[in-house]
């Protein structure tokens, strides 16, 4: 039987103090943490329930044109906010392609950033896993690793970050607002998640007791609204994590790409910003050969971590397709199964 202390602080300051103790963990929707506890992967001795903290569930469109998303905003509420979805369609599309309707109704913005990898060896307590038990080894290296990382992995860990939501956020330069004992600090989301190196047990830059209070998008993130897509390939149509995904956002001016943003999901321990590919695209026309060149650039550093070489070529194709879809324009409606590769007509809301 798991026993743990349960606290429900009334203020952020109390929460931060309570969670700074060793063995403490924040509880929001619990869609990942509770599973981890049931499976014996996580054993927090203290749960600090932040669901009732005031002010964290607000979505604010800022005067400068940016947007600030409270850490407790639920995925479904964000995706279905009409103004937000219109300004940041690829983010809404990514949110709706994750999990199930029930989970999206519960899961939070902060929790999405904090979710753990879905590497099966991490979840199987009988397997060796450096992320779960530092120094234990990595059974994924010689095991079933079809879905593992092809970028940024190390000998000690080849797990991927499973988020859909974070992929367009990284592409659009999102910033994480963090509250800690020393006060507030901000970290670019691109640097928030850590590559495994020799310390795969550390998923993020958060220190003890630090709490995500909001995610902010800069004003420039909205300029891609007319040409932004999130494309996710998975082994089945819904309720599955990405084998590979891509967020593509383009600013198109007179048939040319003025600025491009590109990030990949399911390929590394962090959502992977592909700046080299963005450079290839800048100033070009979105033609098939150019998109393919950008895709090659995005995966230039990729190498298989096991039986997953196919993911590299698959990722190139998905990048090219996501860029083509983005170039074709954001669809009128975000499909119910967004930008599914099952969609037979590019860009149409066939599943809506």
């Amino acid at each position: 039987m798991n026993t743990f202390e349960y606290l429900r602080p009334a203020t952020i300051a109390e929460a931060v103090a309570a969670a700074a103790e060793p063995g403490a963990a924040y509880l929001a929707a619990g869609t990942n943490l509770v599973d981890l506890m049931k499976g014996g992967i996580s054993h927090p001795t203290r749960l600090v329930d932040i669901n009732r903290l005031p002010g964290l569930d607000r979505l604010e469109h800022l005067p400068d044109g940016g947007v600030r998303i409270g850490a407790l905003v639920r995925n479904a509420d964000l995706a279905h906010d009409p103004v937000f979805a219109r300004r940041f369609p690829a983010i809404a599309e990514a949110l709706l392609s994750g999990a199930s309707a029930q989970l999206r109704n519960a899961a939070t913005v902060g929790g999405n950033l904090m979710q753990r990898t879905r590497c099966a060896y991490f979840y199987d307590v009988a397997s060796a896993c450096n992320k779960r038990a530092p120094g234990a080894g990595c059974d994924a290296r010689g095991g079933e690793n079809r879905l593992h990382a092809v970028l940024g992995w190390s000998e000690s860990c080849i797990a991927t970050h499973p988020s859909d939501f974070c992929v367009p956020l990284v592409a659009l330069d999102a910033v994480v607002e963090i509250e800690g004992r020393a006060g507030r600090r901000e970290v670019a989301l691109e640097s928030f998640h850590q590559l495994p190196g020799n310390t795969p047990e550390r998923d993020s830059v958060l220190g003890p007791g630090e709490l995500i209070v909001a995610v902010r998008l800069p004003p420039a993130a909205a300029k891609f609204a007319a040409h932004a897509r999130y494309l996710k390939v998975r082994d089945r149509t819904s309720y599955a994590f990405a084998v590979v995904s891509a967020a593509a956002a383009l600013e198109v001016d007179g048939g040319r790409i003025a600025e491009a943003r590109l990030a990949l999901g399911g390929v590394a321990a962090r959502p992977w910003r592909a700046r080299a590919a963005e450079k290839v695209l800048a100033g070009t026309r979105p033609e098939a050969a150019t998109l393919r060149r950008a895709a090659e650039a995005a995966l230039a550093q990729a190498r298989p971590s096991g039986e997953n070489a196919f993911k590299i070529e698959l990722a190139r194709r998905i990048v090219a397709r996501a860029l083509a879809l983005a170039a074709a324009g954001t669809p009128e409606r975000v499909p119910a199964l967004p930008a599914s590769p099952f969609a037979s007509v590019a860009g149409a809301a066939v599943h809506a």
Partner: protein, 767 residues
């Protein structure tokens, strides 16, 4: 047959649905007598291990715990029987290793039940099960069939050398060899029929009760028929007289064959109820379901066809390896054999030799699952016929037409000793192909190409056998309030028996369906029954009820004749009354029930129907699909069905059976696969890893019938419950292979054709 408003042939909506979809269904787990205790099972984490239960004392003293049973505590219970032993080709009988109610000393698969814990709450029982100390000594496990029969493999049973449960032969080997040696062309193929997990919506559940005063047991259980379970429990496991045992089955949320068998939990909850003096209830959750219920399919088949220079089939050779798992489930050995008896399908193949081997592995038992052997056979044959067409360069439809058993050959006796009474296989194929726009396909393929997709079309002409063996006895009775009660020993699992059977009664007694109650699932109320399975409930059950209803209508007319002072021959039944034809003089059923002469015998008709032989539904399904070569994803665009079910009792219910069956076949063809690790862990043990088809994966169906009435029953019916799942796998896979062959020259891919497999095949072909 005269069309009646609610009678046979009408598209009547299901009378069950208002109740079921508004949450008023009563399933086994909804039955909760006062004071019910919870049972949970401690199951093996190892595929193969020796074990000793070193200490249960801590568990026994935990709060709420009432009983802990291990093998030693249930030695008085008999083993689970296998009722389908086969003969080996050398004339010997296959040995039947024991399938005890709890594993003793050695476990043989992950999920093998080791102990039962009964406590006041399920949480307490789980806590106590966790506290039982067991010393495990893991042993070498053998998982894949090809490994199991290799020299030096770990052994599942001493009785079965080389892990071969049986080695049975069918047909004439010498003649077959001779035919092959003379053949102009030989085409061969090896295919996998992937192992499936039957994911009914309602997991299994059972509640045991014992009345010490009378010595009677009552088992409430989600099953496919109560009488078979009662008889096995009584004779072979509990060893009590059948009258001391009542088995009840309320609403059931899907069975697909897999709920038909005796399972360990049933005798154990009954025995526990007796020991603790309270009702004991076990309800499987979805996780336990994956490691607690028999699985389906899992064949590896090599098939060869010998053809003459004109494409006529001369002979066929089939070698089936059927994975039986670790224990012999109730019907397990028979399933691959049943498939072999349908090996030649719709074709006139004069010579055959089939070898069927049942193989033990350290995996869950495998038994009947929707189609049970027949989907496996149809898949092998229809893939092989397509391969023949490709190899000899003849259009698929022409090769089939050339080799079909012709309707003029009926009745036709197959080389496997089955007699098809009727059927028009070529007619069904031509109609189905025309419906599908088969001959315009080339125009559509270019349109796909422009979108970067690869398009394919495929079809399968299948035949299967249903409704063989035991008959069914039942009764129709007029109640004092003018309603009718039907008692029948088949068991609805959601198919809509209450509607279909009431339609048969309404045909003869002309009453609205809501005045007819269909009672199933109670061995105390229904004297006999053989349950639901093999698509038998309508061809046998409806045929029986038609006779019983007609008999009752005659009895009621006789009663009315006295009262109306008319000859029975002048009476007719109309609008729920018995009337002197052509007059307004009539009497209601309620009044008849109250007549002085209306004895219980006259108000009730009992009849029986024993089928002389199986019925043979058949037809052709056509599938058109697109493959995305960038991702390997397959999308089904069109799916057309033209089936011969002999006679349609209710078009809505029939379409429902076909749609559901095809969906399951699509699941097997494209998504579902049961995967064990090398050491026997079930890797696909939840819906995260075991991929069921979803609504978005299933296309709109075009469904029509091309019925040729069966001669085996008075209504001309053929069973329809399994046909969809039998035809769909070869149909979908022939379309997948067609697409891959046209684009890349690929002529083989195994089920399930998942995106990753298709992706890999395309990558390989491109290089």
């Amino acid at each position: 047959m005269k069309p009646m408003k609610f009678g046979i042939g009408q598209a009547v909506k299901r009378v069950e649905d208002a109740r079921l979809i508004t949450g008023h269904g009563q399933y086994t787990a909804d039955y909760l007598p006062t004071g019910t205790l919870a049972a949970v099972f401690l199951r093996s984490p190892h595929a193969h291990a020796r074990f000793t239960v070193s200490d249960t004392s801590a568990a026994k003293s935990m709060p709420g715990v009432r009983l802990i049973a291990t093998a030693a505590d249930v030695a008085h219970l008999g083993d689970l029987p296998c009722v389908a032993a086969l003969g080996n080709s050398d004339g010997s009988k296959m040995p039947l290793p024991p399938y005890p109610v709890l594993a003793k000393d050695e476990v043989l698969h992950v999920g093998d039940a080791v102990a039962m814990v009964v406590a006041e709450t399920e949480a307490q029982a789980r806590e106590a099960a966790d506290a039982i100390e067991i010393d495990w000594e893991p042993l070498a496990a053998v998982i894949e069939m090809t490994d199991a029969i290799a020299p030096g493999a770990a052994s599942v049973w001493r009785q079965a050398a080389g892990n071969i449960a049986y080695d049975a032969h069918m047909g004439d080997k010498a003649k077959t060899d001779a035919a092959f040696s003379k053949a102009a062309q030989v085409v061969s193929l090896q295919v996998v029929n992937n192992r499936l997990i039957a994911n009914y919506m309602e997991p299994r559940a059972a509640i045991g009760e014992y009345d010490a005063a009378s010595g009677r047991y009552t088992l409430t259980v989600a099953s496919q028929g109560v009488h078979g379970l009662r008889d096995i429990l009584s004779k072979q496991i509990l060893k009590v007289p059948p009258e001391n045992l009542r088995v009840v089955t309320p609403d059931v949320g899907g069975g697909f064959g897999t709920k038909a068998f005796m399972y360990r939990e049933y005798p154990l909850v009954l025995d526990a109820a007796r020991q603790v003096g309270a009702p004991v209830r076990w309800v499987s959750d979805r996780s336990e379901h994956f490691i607690g219920d028999a699985q389906g399919r899992d064949n590896l088949t090599t098939a060869e066809m010998a053809l003459d220079k004109n494409g006529r089939f001369l002979a066929m050779r089939v070698d089936i390896l059927g994975n039986l798992g670790a224990y012999l489930s109730q019907f397990a050995p028979y399933i691959p054999w049943l498939g072999a008896t349908m090996a030649t399908g719709t074709y006139d193949i004069p010579v055959l030799h089939a070898r069927v081997r049942g193989i033990y592995t350290h995996t869950l038992p495998v038994d009947a699952y929707r189609g049970a052997g027949r989907p496996e056979a149809a898949y092998v044959l229809e893939r092989l016929v397509d391969q023949c067409a490709r190899q000899i360069g003849m259009p698929r439809e022409e090769l089939r037409a050339k080799n079909f058993v012709k309707s003029t050959q009926m009745p036709y006796k197959t080389i496997t000793d089955r007699t098809y009474d009727v059927g028009d296989f070529e007619g069904a194929m031509r109609k189905s192909l025309a419906n599908a726009g088969y001959f315009d396909f080339d125009r559509r393929i270019d349109e796909s190409k422009r979108r970067g997709k690869v398009r394919g079309i495929g079809f399968a002409s299948y035949i299967e056998c249903t409704a063989w063996g035991d008959g069914e006895e039942g009764s129709v009775k007029l109640e004092p309030d003018g309603t009718f009660t039907v008692l029948i020993g088949t068991q609805s699992n959601g198919q809509g028996h209450a509607t279909a059977y009431a339609q048969v009664v309404s045909q003869h007694l002309d009453v609205p369906l809501e005045r007819i109650r269909v009672i199933q699932g109670d061995s105390d109320r229904i004297p006999t029954g053989h349950g639901t399975g093999g698509s038998r409930s309508i061809p046998i059950g409806a045929a029986m009820l038609a006779r019983a209803s007609e008999k009752l209508s005659v009895q009621l007319k006789e009663l009315a004749a006295d009262k109306l002072e008319a000859a029975a021959a002048d009476l007719e039944i109309a609008d729920g009354r018995v009337r002197i034809a052509g007059t307004d003089r009539s009497i209601s059923f309620e009044e008849i029930a109250k007549l002085p002469g209306a004895t219980p015998e006259k108000l009730k008709a009992v009849d029986e129907f024993v089928p002389p032989t199986a019925t043979y539904p058949n037809g052709t399904h056509v599938c058109e699909l697109e493959i995305d070569p960038d991702t390997g994803v397959t999308e089904i665009l069109r799916y057309g069905v033209c089936d011969d079910f002999g006679f349609t009792l209710n078009p809505l219910l029939l379409a429902g059976q076909v749609h559901g069956g095809v969906a399951q076949g699509i699941g097997q063809a494209l998504y579902e696969r049961t995967v064990y690790s090398e050491d026997g862990q079930l890797l696909t043990a939840s819906f995260m890893d075991y991929c069921m088809p979803r609504a978005a994966d299933i296309p709109e169906f075009h469904f029509e019938t091309c019925n040729v009435p069966s001669t085996t029953n008075p209504l001309g019916l053929k069973g329809a419950g399994e046909a969809g799942s039998i035809a769909a796998c070869p149909t979908v896979m022939n379309a997948v292979v067609d697409a891959l062959h046209r684009a890349y020259g690929i002529d083989h891919i195994d089920m399930p054709a998942t995106p990753s497999r298709v992706f890999a095949a395309v990558q390989q072909a491109r290089h």
